[in-house]
Symmetry: C2
């Protein structure tokens, strides 16, 4: 995908760049659109702990690409949220497994439809490999049984064989304290539903997820270096404490070169 010259220098503030822009109106559930001709789609995934700033970055990248005339869709994990999501935390023994299955199937369908069928560039919160991490965590905590875990892995293999690997994988993982602070603020503002049964549970999950993301990102770096099938994935490490200029800059460089 050749984007041509971008109009804005990286020194302009984000506010100025996005001021007055109209939010894109691409419907990821659209079942009728014909695929655009002559475009190739990119799969950009933003991987990181809760409240890392993934959604803000997705929204920025989506608007920027749409403004440049490319049919890109930003996909927040909220679209995969299930009405029983709270039960994954309050009754993990029963609901961790089916909720994770639901995420797996929903993410697969949205990627298949938007990226593969409609050839839209997708900027997605986490990638389809990330979910395996949470299943493993639930297994180790005793919330997912051995037969459930092995079936999940088999199903993930069958589904993922029909999806491309991400072209760009953005890695961001702030300190747990930063995530907790941002979560509390977002909950106070009602920007996020309260997903956890208690503050103690929330802190426990956030710290555990942070450590898991550290391992996941390490694995991504190793695999991208060693596994030929994943060599096509460009990794972009982002410091969530900084603004997203660097990420946008690197992404622009990547897109312009493809």
């Amino acid at each position: 995908m050749k984007m041509g010259g971008l109009q804005h220098s990286e020194n302009e503030s984000l506010t100025a760049i996005f001021e007055g822009m109209i939010a894109p109106c691409i419907d990821i559930w659209d079942t009728d659109s014909a695929p655009p001709q002559g475009t190739s789609a990119l799969y950009v995934a933003i991987s990181g702990n809760t409240a890392a700033g993934k959604s803000s970055l997705i929204a920025e990248l989506e608007r920027r690409l749409c403004r440049l005339g490319f049919p890109a869709v930003g996909i927040s994990e909220r679209v995969f949220h299930h009405q029983y999501l709270r039960l994954m935390f309050s009754n993990s023994r029963d609901f961790a497994f089916p909720i994770q299955l639901s995420f797996l199937v929903e993410r697969y369908m949205v990627l298949l439809r938007n990226l593969v069928s409609l050839r839209r560039t997708v900027i997605m919160e986490r990638c389809h490999f990330d979910d395996l991490l949470f299943v493993e965590e639930h297994f180790q905590a005793g919330n997912i049984a051995e037969d459930q875990r092995s079936t999940y892995h088999q199903l993930a293999l069958v589904l993922h064989a029909r999806l491309p690997h991400p072209d760009v994988l953005v890695l961001m993982n702030p300190a747990p304290e930063t995530s907790l602070e941002r979560l509390a603020r977002a909950e106070q503002r009602n920007d996020r539903p309260k997903e956890f049964p208690s503050d103690e549970a929330k802190e426990r999950w956030v710290r555990r997820w942070h450590a898991m993301e550290v391992n996941l990102h390490k694995q991504y770096r190793q695999r991208t270096a060693q596994d030929l099938a994943r060599a096509g994935t460009t990794l972009v490490q982002v410091d969530p404490a900084q603004d997203h200029a660097l990420c946008r800059y690197r992404l622009r460089g990547y897109i312009e070169s493809t």
Copy 2:
């Protein structure tokens, strides 16, 4: 569950029985309700082809039980419908498998939550064994591949091992012409979304489903007679051309005896 005497004779018209009744307000997605004490829950499933009258029967039974003070929830298959449902018919090769997976997981969660956790009596459109039939049909039509089918079966085994068998299985399967006529009327009234890409496709599916349901119901009769694990299921055959008095009568008899 002991229901005590019912106030209305079977000769009263359905209209008179249900007139002025308030629709029950039990939310199947409710995540907070505590289970009621001292009640046992029944799993009543209504199996049959499209437009057999399943939804109407479910609504009747649900209201009747709720009126008698039993927390029963009627669950139409519409609650499992996915935003990509139309793609199952227009792009079956890609979407038959994930849509069927989605049905499987959704049905499992709703049964686990309402029947098993909250111990509510559930009156459900089809039972959790019925879905296997549609997967088999898609496999034979070439829309579901061998690896997908075997993974589906393995997952269904893992999920279904954690659910009880239906206590009552109502079988209704009208002639295909009756289903087609009712579907056309419901679509004209906008009571049903148009799910099929064309009228020819609709007729093909409805006739195929009718034949499949004939086989399914035959299997249910054989298994209930031969398989000890399913011997606890009471089968009730209903002629969809008649009103539902007979079904309600038999169901009442069954519930009063348990």
